[in-house]
């Protein structure tokens, strides 16, 4: 499908937490690729491992979590086994990060300008004056009105949406080739949310930056991403182009998830519900993790773990739903 070489390639990633009661496998063989300039949405419910995947890519995995297998490559170079110092240089320079809560990602005692200038001078060989000019350009680029005066304001003087724009400007400081955005719009109101997703899309188009967009909101993914990876209990269960996955899901979990979202276009008598909840990491069932909640499960599903998809539109399911079933 993708002729371009992958910018980020994650292969068979396994993350294990060593606890008192033995190791817990939080990520179990996660694989995906992101092409340059592409937005990959990673969607899943709480505890599916979507944020953990992002954390592993930027190398911020904290003990007791550890990488137990697999590899992460950025532009063909392995980054999962880099020493901490090399990883620290990479982070911010080539991989930017945007987190959910813009208030906690900004330093409350430094002006927005100081934070931007510090980041720019850390990563790029420029002087103070040059850095300030760059900072000003960045603030203008992310759509902050009256940037010349706003640059000397503190984070608390900005509203939620404006703060998130500042965080995006910070992530862009060193012109990274990849941005990990973990729930960037969740703390914002719908009308502000639309402004931020539009901004992310524009930046992606203009700079050719790839974005890994982690969110629980299928709507945001549908509006923003080019491709989507659906996660369930630490595994990718379906991956493919957004339109195909949302319109013709192959995995019963994705299909159930899509059907449980209320529509603004009509009123349904009852929402489709997937009974039960995602298993805890301590009790992931054998075979396909979704089998206890799946209406199509057979003995094969209860015994054998289905293979994980890599590219194109594929689902980790022994009996993927065919297009016929959806009409």
């Amino acid at each position: 499908m993708n002729a371009q070489p992958a910018l980020l390639s994650v292969r068979d990633l396994r993350i294990v937490f060593d606890g008192r009661r033995g190791p817990l496998t939080a990520l179990d063989g996660v694989s995906f690729e992101i092409a340059p300039g592409e937005i990959l949405g990673v969607v899943g419910e709480s505890g599916a491992g979507k944020s953990l995947t992002g954390t592993a890519v930027i190398g911020l995995l904290d003990p007791p979590g550890r990488l137990a297998g697999g590899e992460i490559k950025l532009s063909g170079q392995r980054i999962d086994n880099l020493p901490a110092e090399a990883m620290r240089k990479l982070r911010g320079r080539r991989i930017g990060a945007i987190f959910q809560d813009p208030l906690t990602s900004l330093h409350p005692l430094l002006t927005v300008g100081e934070q931007l200038i510090e980041t720019i001078t850390t990563h790029l060989p420029v002087g103070k004056a040059e850095a300030r000019k760059r900072a000003l350009d960045l603030l203008k680029e992310v759509g902050i009105p009256a940037a010349e005066t706003r640059i000397d304001h503190y984070p608390h003087q900005f509203s939620g949406g404006m703060r998130q724009r500042v965080v995006i400007a910070l992530a862009l400081c060193a012109e990274p080739i990849l941005i990990i955005a973990d729930e960037p719009t969740t703390a914002l109101d719908v009308s502000i949310q639309a402004q931020i997703t539009t901004l992310l899309k524009r930046l992606c188009r203009e700079h050719g930056t790839a974005i890994m967009l982690v969110t629980h909101d299928m709507g945001v993914i549908a509006e923003t991403a080019d491709r989507v990876a659906v996660m369930y209990a630490g595994r990718v269960v379906e991956i493919g182009p957004v339109e195909e996955v949302t319109r013709r899901p192959h995995h019963p979990y994705t299909a159930g998830l899509m059907a449980s979202i209320p529509s603004v276009h009509r009123r349904n008598a009852e929402l489709n519900q997937i009974d039960g909840s995602m298993p805890r990491l301590t009790a992931v069932p054998a075979g396909c993790a979704f089998n206890p909640r799946c209406g199509f499960a057979t003995d094969l599903c209860r015994e054998t773990k289905p293979g994980l998809p890599v590219s194109g539109h594929a689902a980790a399911c022994h009996f993927p739903l065919r297009e016929m079933a959806h009409g």
């Binding site: 419910e45 109101d189 009308s191 639309a194 997703t197 629980h216 080019d226 009123r267 519900q273 997937i274």
Partner: protein, 322 residues
């Protein structure tokens, strides 16, 4: 729509908060008083057995309105009038009102067993004769909301978010409530769990003839739940009416923009023009129509004259142009 079945009548209710600096420092710095108008002159009525929803962005006053309805906040002006209702058991009286909160992690006491959490209103209001009857009632309630009787022995931390929200619902029903005020009951939940809770709420409404005042910022959830709805902006209703009507033919520019900006899974990657600007401060609302700085259609009149809410068929709308 049974008009005679009004359960709650709200007449020009307002709620203002004084957020001025202390009197002495105001005197020295020559600052005027600062009044935050959280809710301004809101009127509506709720029919028994239906769902009335209030939609708006953060800071529009929807939660303050909910708190006024349950009596946690006094209106500074206007009236909230609960009508007497006749229940299935023959008793007549004002409806019993309960509230379901947004965060199921913060609204349950972590040191109490679930059984005690649900039994508390029963004990407090002396709704059952003795402990064994109370325990039976608690067990029944747990089954009604889709949990098992044995769950009464467990603590809140042993449950997932969706299950905790079920416990909150059971606790609200324990008082034999007629009217539930639900403040964002599903916004802390995952979508598949949200579907379970919404289905449960619809089922309970049918079974017990409950009336809901449903507060949410999520338009798709509101569309699914509501009979009537009101769109709020900066403390005022800008549009209200039957849900089908408002969603089918939104008139107010704010309603239209809200419907246009929500992410839509059915139309992936559509191009759209997001609404610019942000909600102004309710301490210093803009003159004229509060929405005019963000409105694409605003004319001179919108900047000077605040539009009154006028009736148009079953709808009420506050706009000079719509």
């Amino acid at each position: 729509m049974a008009e005679a079945n009004t359960i709650l009548e709200v007449t020009s209710a307002s709620c203002r908060f004084d957020v001025s600096a202390p009197a002495l420092s105001r005197l020295f710095s020559h600052e005027p008083r600062r009044i935050l108008r959280a809710v301004e002159n809101v009127s509506f009525s709720v029919q028994r057995g239906t769902t009335f929803s209030i939609v708006g962005e953060s800071g529009c006053g929807k939660s303050t309105l909910a708190r006024m309805v349950v009596g946690l906040q006094r209106p500074t002006q206007g009236l909230l009038d609960f009508k007497d209702i006749k229940r299935a058991d023959g008793s007549v009286g004002p409806p019993r009102v309960q509230m379901i909160f947004q965060d199921p992690y913060a609204s349950l006491n972590p040191r109490w067993r679930v059984g005690d959490i649900i039994a508390e209103p029963i004990r407090e209001l002396k709704l059952r004769k003795d402990e064994s009857e109370t325990a039976t009632r608690v067990g029944d309630l747990l089954e009604i909301v889709g949990l098992s009787r044995a769950d009464a022995r467990r603590f809140p931390h042993e449950f997932s978010g969706g299950q905790r929200q079920r416990i909150s619902i059971a606790r609200a029903l324990a008082t034999e409530a007629d009217f539930l005020v639900c403040d964002e009951p599903t916004s802390a939940l995952d979508v598949s769990v949200q579907a379970q809770i919404l289905n449960l709420m619809v089922r309970l409404q049918k079974e017990f003839g409950l009336t809901y005042l449903f507060i949410s910022h999520n338009l798709s959830v509101v569309r699914h739940m509501s009979d009537q709805l009101a769109i709020m902006y900066l403390g005022r209703f800008v549009e209200s009416g039957p849900a089908e009507e408002v969603f089918g033919r939104p008139r107010h520019p704010y309603t239209r923009l809200l419907l246009d900006t929500i992410p839509d899974v059915e139309k992936p990657n559509r191009e759209r023009r997001p609404m610019s600007g942000e909600v102004p401060s309710p301490i210093a609302p803009p003159p004229g129509c509060a929405f005019h700085p963000r409105c694409v259609q605003a004319v001179e009149r919108c900047r000077t004259e605040a539009p009154a809410l006028r009736r148009e068929g079953e709808l009420e709308i506050a706009c000079h142009l719509a």
